[in-house]
Amino acid sequence: MVEEKVLELVTEIFQSVGEDVRIVKGRKFDGFYVDIQNLKEPAIFIGKNGIVLRSMQYILNVYAHRLDQNFPTIILDVNGYKMDQFEMLKTIAINAALRAKRLKEPVELKPMSASARRIIHITLKNYPDVWTRSIGKEPRRRVIVDVKK
C-alpha cells in the first residue's frame, strides 16, 4: 500500500540522518497527515520559515503520487505544530461565519496562504447558511465568508 510505502520512506530518511522518530498518522483535512515526533533537532528539520519541512513534504508528495495518482495530499508536520494552526484557523472560520450571519453581510478575512485558505473553505463547506470564496491576488489573496441568499 502506498500509505505504508510513504511511512517507510519517512522512517528511512530520518534513520539516515541519525534521528529515531515517532510517526503519528491520520486522515485530516482531506489529506494524509503525518506528524514527526521525538526529533532531537526539530529546528533544522523545519528550517527558515518552514522551508525544509516544505521541501520534504513536496518530495513525499511526488513519491506518493508517482505510485498512485489519486493518493491524498500528504501534510507533513513536526510536533503537531500545523495541527495547532489548523485548530486556530477552524476557530477563525467559524467566528467569521457567525459574524456574517449576525451582520447579514460578507466578512473579509485577512490575507492567508493557499493552504490556510483551504482550511477555511473546507471548514465552512458544510456549514449552514454561509458560503466562501477567495478574492485578490497573491500574496494578498483572502477569503470572503458570505451569507447564502
Binding site: 530518511i13 540522518v17 533544522i44 528550517g47 525544509v52 516544505r54 521541501s55 520534504m56 518530495i59 508517482r66
Partner: protein, 82 residues
C-alpha cells in the same frame, strides 16, 4: 549523508538500480554527484527544478547538522578542457 541522498533520489526515479551517488568531501564543503538513467533526469529535476531544489534544501539542512556546506549535481558531464 550519502545514504540520505541515495534514499531520496531512489524514491523519485523509475530505475532506482541505476542511481549512483558520489560524495566528494572537502574540509568545509561536500558535493554529491548524482547519476541517474537518462530517462529519469526529468524526474529528479522536476517542473522548473522544483524537485531538485527541494532535494538541495534537504541535503543542505542535513549537512548543516555536521557543520558542512553541501551541494548537489545531477548527471554532470566532465568539464571539457579547452
Amino acid at each position: 549523508m550519502k545514504e540520505l541522498v541515495e534514499i531520496v533520489v531512489k524514491a523519485l526515479v523509475d530505475n532506482p538500480e541505476e542511481v549512483r551517488i558520489q560524495e566528494i568531501a572537502g574540509e568545509q564543503a561536500v558535493i554529491y554527484e548524482i547519476k541517474v538513467a537518462d530517462s529519469d533526469i526529468g524526474k529528479v529535476i522536476g517542473k522548473q527544478g522544483k524537485t531538485a531544489n527541494a532535494l538541495r534544501t534537504i541535503v543542505k539542512a542535513a549537512a548543516s547538522k555536521i557543520g558542512k556546506n553541501a551541494s548537489i549535481q545531477i548527471n554532470s558531464k566532465p568539464k571539457e578542457i579547452v
